[in-house]
């Protein structure tokens, strides 16, 4: 393992540059942008789950003074909102506005008016005649023979391609020979799992402001995880050259993946602005947002074969994914479930069959973990069960089977392979087990009182980005660019289009830049930028922000540093290799000096000023970077729960969370990621589920928080019972040894809770959320019918 050199800012808790703005409410989000003469936009949404628009009459709305937009007003360009996949893997099935509504809440028409009140009045004045079509509200209905089609055809690889049986996409992935593998197995276990769709519940709903100019160009402020992808897609739809579309980078109030795609209101707002010739702003309501996106509903059957000594020999996974009304990324999602599954444990023979189905529900999109929470749920619950069958401690057993140092790894799907070079799993499991009191955990099913306690463990990872070594043929686009510039006073502008969801990504990258060049963090500014003044960055997704985006900025910082040293070498008459730059707290500057010749020194400010006054030019660099690895950011969870057998309510008593994110750039914020992961993860494990009315296709919550509940801070264990540890690892391919953390922090939650509840009650739950009602129902059937000994459920081969 490489040793670390002395670090000045990385690894320290520092004040966030955007912190004061956020806590004082002066930070600007898209909905805060106010442009003179702007009108308010609003969207009319379908009350039906599936309906063709027979007619639409906007005259009354127009008579009120509103500008209206219907499918007849927008370019008939079919697109996919999320353009992270390489073009051959894009499934295009939507328009800005369409003549068919495919889920309740889908946009049908839009208006812009001088006031919000008038815009709402105008929306109510639009008359739509719907021809209501049969709605398929679950996969079973959509797959039925002769079920009406949700999409007749979609645009795929340049051709209108028919969709059969509402199956949007299937994937078959095979490694080795499972027939042979299962034949070699001493035991085989097969289990079925289900994870409910949930709402992202990010703080900010989607907003967009579009300002058109007389030359036909537009400026856009939008809630998005990628300003460049938003720009490219708007160009594709509205037929504008890229330079005429400027998308501004602006703070985001969290996304959890829900703005990975260009949000559906963005092109609508652009359409309204172009039609009205005025700036238009749309700020969606929470109800609109809940109807706009959710996490995929996933059903998985997993069959695993293993030897008497526990060695896994074969695995067969079948997955059905419900997409909702649009296929935003079904192909990729099916691929990552396979990838996350096979990268958790060594499996010589595997077969994976995935099917993604359209339904007339809210479209699903990426959400923190993107398939890993579900794949981990299935795998870690089965592995817990196998360990028990073998009479082994799950921690010890898993350590013999997992993919770690030196193993091949392809978390993001079969085209993204690399070798694991850093691995903190053994360390984290040891620390976590100690802190939670793993060895003192109860024997499952032995407790009798009202309150029963249990400890569960699960481990997972997320890929740091989707980097891979191949030059062509990748499923995903994955590169970042950055500009770093030395200003005339020795301060640095860090210029990057990469978005910060609120977790402090750009802050961490500023630290990498400060560290590399050798200036105090206070001398690095995070620039307020847009697409016109930055180079491309794919998206802040896939836990790639610091690892991949940061690596690009680091590359630019390195170029800048080399130029600084080159100029300083001339001015100080010292070989550049002998010069060092170090931050000086005292001077508030970077200082360039030669360790052997203390008099040979100057501040970065002096150098920059010299270059400026003598017209030597500006030191700046622009770099792009495609990472060639996507190393696993491991996370381990130990949770202790208490189940109230009278009410079925599960309380989290304690948790020990471990993260292997390589070098920890900002400990406080990294710990915050884990705490957040636990909170949302516990919600998904215990209470959260989007439900749709089987008759109307409406959300049971109707889009209101009142019933669309997540857990809150009150359910998080108290600080003294919340242990957070970081592994002491260094990732050779990461910037300063760093990997990712964000998504990884939620991935083990479902499994850890299921295993903990099993430990408390002796009952396995393979369907999340594990609600109080499900627990009570299981407890009462258990009383009646004594459970079969686990061994009996095994098929011995």
């Amino acid at each position: 393992m490489q040793t670390r050199t002395k670090l000045n800012t990385i690894g320290r808790n520092t004040h966030r540059k955007d912190g004061i703005g956020k806590v004082t409410g002066t930070e600007q989000y898209a909905s805060d942008v106010s442009v003179p003469r702007a009108w308010y936009g609003g969207v009319l949404r379908s009350p039906h789950a599936h309906a063709r628009i027979a007619s639409i009459d906007t005259s009354a709305a127009e008579a009120l003074g509103a500008v209206c937009l219907t499918f007849a007003d927008v370019p008939r360009v079919k697109y996919n909102e999320r353009t992270n996949c390489a073009p051959p893997h894009l499934y295009r099935d939507r328009y800005v506005l369409d003549d068919t509504a495919r889920h309740v809440g889908e946009a049908v028409a839009a208006v812009a008016a001088p006031t919000r009140a008038l815009a709402e009045k105008a929306l109510r004045a639009i008359k739509v005649e719907y021809e209501v079509l049969p709605a398929m509200l679950c996969a079973a209905d959509a797959l039925k023979d002769g079920a009406p089609k949700i999409h007749e055809t979609i645009l795929y690889r340049g051709k209108e391609t028919p969709i059969e049986h509402n199956v949007a996409v299937t994937r078959l992935i095979e490694v080795g020979d499972i027939e042979k593998g299962f034949a070699e197995a001493d035991s085989i276990i097969e289990r079925e799992f289900e994870a409910a769709p949930v709402y992202h519940a990010q703080m900010e709903t989607k907003s967009v402001v579009c300002k058109p100019a007389v030359d036909g160009s537009i400026t856009v402020w939008a809630t998005t995880q990628s300003i460049h992808n938003t720009r490219q897609l708007l160009a594709e739809i509205y037929g504008l050259p890229l330079h005429k579309i400027n998308v501004k980078k602006i703070a985001i109030g969290g996304t959890f993946g829900s703005s990975i795609q260009m949000n559906s209101v963005v092109p609508i707002c652009v359409g309204l602005a172009i039609k009205s010739g005025r700036p238009v702003k749309i700020a969606t309501t929470r109800e609109e947002d809940m109807y706009d996106h959710c996490r995929y509903q996933v059903r998985i059957t997993l069959k695993l074969g293993f030897k008497a000594d526990g060695t896994l020999v074969a695995g067969h996974m079948k997955t059905t994914v419900e997409l909702g009304a649009h296929n935003t990324q079904g192909y990729h999602f099916l691929g990552v479930i396979a990838g996350f599954w096979v990268s958790l444990y060594k499996l010589p023979n595997m077969k994976y069959e995935g099917t993604a189905v359209y339904t007339n529900r809210t479209p699903s999109c990426a959400m923190q973990g993107f398939g890993a929470p579900q794949a981990t749920f299935v795998t870690e619950v089965i592995m817990d069960e196998i360990a028990e069958l073998l009479g082994r401690d799950p921690v010890e057993y898993k350590l013999t089977q997992y993919r770690g140092l030196g193993d091949t790894f392809w978390g993001q799907g079969p085209t993204v392979k690399s070798i694991i070079l850093s691995d903190g799993v053994p360390e984290l499991l040891e620390v976590g087990a100690k802190k939670i009191g793993w060895d003192g955990r109860p024997v499952p099913g032995t407790q009798t009182g009202r309150f029963r306690r249990g400890i569960g463990m699960a481990r997972s990872f997320h890929c740091s980005g989707v980097g891979q070594p191949r030059k062509t043929g990748a499923e995903m686009i994955d590169y970042s660019g950055a500009i770093v510039k030395l200003n005339e006073d020795g301060s640095i502008d860090y210029i990057q289009s990469l978005m910060d969801h609120g977790g402090g990504t750009c802050e961490a990258i500023a630290k990498l830049v400060a560290e590399e060049i050798g200036v105090p963090l206070s001398m690095v500014g995070i620039s307020d930028v847009d697409t016109n003044t930055t180079v491309y960055d794919i998206t802040t997704h896939a836990t790639r922000g610091v690892f991949a985006g940061g690596a690009a900025a680091l590359k630019a910082a390195k170029s800048v540093k080399a130029k600084i040293l080159d100029y300083a070498s001339q001015l100080l008459d010292i070989m550049s290799e002998s010069l060092v730059i170090e931050p000086s707290e005292e001077l508030g500057q970077g200082v360039i000096y030669c360790p052997g010749y203390p008099e040979k020194r100057m501040t970065l400010g002096e150098l920059a000023k010299y270059l400026h006054v003598n017209s030597w030019g500006t030191i700046a660099a622009v770099e792009s970077l495609h990472p060639v690895t996507a190393p696993p950011a491991y996370v381990t969870y130990f949770v202790e729960v208490e189940v109230d057998t009278e009410t079925g309510v599960v309380k989290t008593l304690a948790a020990a969370l471990g993260s292997d994110c390589g070098t920890v750039v900002n400990p406080g914020l990294a710990a915050g990621q884990l705490t957040g992961g636990l909170s949302k993860g516990a919600g998904c494990a215990l209470i959260e589920a989007h439900q749709w009315d089987r008759q109307t296709g409406e959300l049971a919550s109707k889009g209101f928080w009142v019933d669309g509940k997540t857990l809150s801070i009150l359910e998080t264990p108290l600080l003294e019972n919340l242990h957070i540890d970081f592994a002491h690892t260094y990732e050779p391919t990461g910037p300063f040894g760093a990997k990712g953390i964000g998504e990884a922090s939620i991935n083990p939650a479902l499994a850890a809770y299921s295993n903990a509840i099993y430990n408390a009650l002796g009952i396995r739950f393979r369907e999340v959320p594990i609600t109080a009602e499900k627990i009570l129902a299981a407890l009462s059937t258990k009383k009646v019918r004594r459970t079969q000994p686990a061994q009996r459920e095994l098929v011995n081969s």
Binding site: E120, A700, D707, K709, L714, L776
Partner: protein, 294 residues
């Protein structure tokens, strides 16, 4: 949603009831904290043309004890209740429910009258008040009348209040020493969650016998209801584990829950059984007449 309405802000109770009397066919509603009404307006469940705000009427915001009665002004907020030693002493269940009511921001504006008048079977202050045999004072331009809370609700979101009447106070008898009062709210999470089942229990005792029993159930019927059959089983007896279990089962039988997104009817019935058992046993233990029954 955007809503347009006229807002009137009377300075006294007299002005307020006069303003209410002068509705002239204009859809008029009273606005207290707005934590229920503004939600309804935004969702267009109601479209009032005129709102009469009680925000300036300080005489309606008070907690006082006069002789044997404790009285709470109708505009007293949930936070006021939480801060009151008098309520803590003479309405333990009410204080307990204020503690688990919504979140801090809502508690600061939500009023007692608003909680009653919104008519929700899940209104958290109602079961405790019902278990304390509280009365509601209704006032209009020509005077006031007092209605027992037990007779106030006539059906789901329906009550005996006339459109020109304001709720001005809620009052109940200061309970004696031999009286215990408990409340528990079961919800999907701890803060800001609608009650799945709420139970309030008041027990009075003399000479080892339960002389008075009130079991009020929230969110398990069209209105907050009393489990009168269960109460009857408890009154006049010395409570035992078996009797408490029987009475709790009876309460579960009496309630009329529905299935909704928050819970199934079966779960709610089960919760009534469990919570009633736990609260009655706890209240009985409070009276130092028995040891805690688990």
């Amino acid at each position: 949603m955007f809503a347009e309405f006229d807002l009137e802000m009377p300075n006294s109770l007299d002005e307020a009831v006069l303003a209410l009397a002068r509705s002239d066919g204009i859809e008029t509603l009273t606005l207290a904290g707005g934590s229920s009404l503004m939600v309804d307006i935004r969702a267009r469940r109601v479209v009032p043309e005129r709102l009469i705000s009680l925000a300036r009427i300080n005489e309606l915001r008070r907690i006082e004890i006069l002789g044997p009665r404790i009285t709470i002004g109708s505009r007293t907020t949930v936070s006021d209740i939480l801060r009151s030693n008098q309520v803590a002493e003479h309405g333990a269940a009410l204080a307990a429910s204020a503690e688990v009511f919504a979140g801090q921001m809502v508690r600061n504006v939500a009023t007692v009258a608003g909680n009653i008048a919104c008519g929700s079977p899940a209104a958290d202050l109602v079961p405790p008040l019902l278990s304390l045999d509280a009365d509601v004072v209704l006032t209009n331009a020509s005077g006031f009348r007092t209605v027992p809370l037990a007779d106030y609700f006539t059906g789901f979101k329906q009550d005996v209040r006339r459109p020109d009447e304001l709720i001005t106070a809620i009052s109940w008898d200061v309970p004696g020493a031999k009286c215990a009062n408990r409340f528990y709210k079961l919800a999907r999470r701890k803060g800001d969650a609608i009650t799945v089942t709420g139970v309030a229990v008041t027990l009075g005792a003399a000479n080892g016998v339960c002389t008075k029993a009130r079991v009020a159930l929230g969110a398990v019927a069209p209105i907050v209801m009393r489990a009168r059959a269960a109460e009857a089983m408890l009154e006049g007896s010395t409570l035992t584990v078996e009797l408490i279990e029987e009475a709790s089962l009876k309460a579960a039988e009496e309630c009329q829950p529905i299935d909704d997104i928050r819970a199934s009817a079966d779960y709610r019935r089960h919760a009534v059984h469990m919570l009633t058992r736990r609260l009655v046993a706890g209240a009985w233990a409070d009276l130092h007449l028995a040891t805690e029954v688990s």
